[in-house]
Symmetry: C2
Amino acid sequence: MAALDQLIDALRKLPGVGPKSAQRMAYHLLQHDRLGAQQLAAGLTEALARIQTCTRCHSFAEAPVCAVCSDGTRDPALLAVVETPADQAVLERSGSYRGYYFVLGGRVSPIEGRGPKDIGAEALLHRATDGLVREVILATSFTAEGEATAYLLGEALKAQGLKVSRLARGVPVGSELEFVDLGTLAHALADRR
Amino acid sequence: MAALDQLIDALRKLPGVGPKSAQRMAYHLLQHDRLGAQQLAAGLTEALARIQTCTRCHSFAEAPVCAVCSDGTRDPALLAVVETPADQAVLERSGSYRGYYFVLGGRVSPIEGRGPKDIGAEALLHRATDGLVREVILATSFTAEGEATAYLLGEALKAQGLKVSRLARGVPVGSELEFVDLGTLAHALADRR
């Protein structure tokens, strides 16, 4: 059935959804939750129409400039650099950061041929040298690619006379020492306070 | 962001998708696959508009009567009863059945207060007594509820003078005996041939 197969194909665009799950989802929606399917179609269309990229921080925004960048009560001396809007959302939910953000277009990856240019390094340098930013917090992932990204951007930012920092590495809150990996433990020891 | 939150809520309508996955999916679609999001919205809308229930077998259909029921080359003496359109699709893909189908509205469940009436037993009796059907194959699941469904429907169908059968229970093809559960083994022994 053409319409059913097309729906199953489209559901496979979702991350983590293979052919079996896509089929289960399609059957479920059509048989048991047509209202849910309608809401999902509407939610997608609405989000695509309304959510754009903030011209200032490159995160998601429903206006040319996002709500965070438009918030005049934040500290203009602090700029946190993250890989994705999702990372920004996590930092924001932590409730312990009151500066502004800059969202990269991912992280550098020699394997996938993605260099600093491809993730928006120039736009970051432009944003960070507005005369107000004093410290750039490189909040990229603690993976090889995230570290490489932080290193490359950090060098460029330091060359502009900016203070550059990185999130602290250490033992996650609530975790038992026994189950913490050795690399993390080594960092937590070295950075003890 | 209202549009983002609504999209995340809508994605949670998908079976097996919790809050974390829904968020990941929303961010992924908006950041990396806007075309995929568009295709998914279109696929949903299209499927909802085009896929209805076949008036004859109650499976999915893009016309009042589905392609299988309209296929005059099948054996009208055989009617397979399944719980869902997905079950019908699996039987059909096996390539070893050439009769017609009847799709129930699920299976009886005393706990959820679903009796034979709620799954379309009357429509099945009506369909099975068209004068052409000779044998009804009860292809409901081999779970407690599926077995109960098969038992109740089987009694009603036998009362109409119809031959009633059930799919064979046994060791799945390709499986090692060591890992087959004991109930299945017991059935495979009893039904040996």
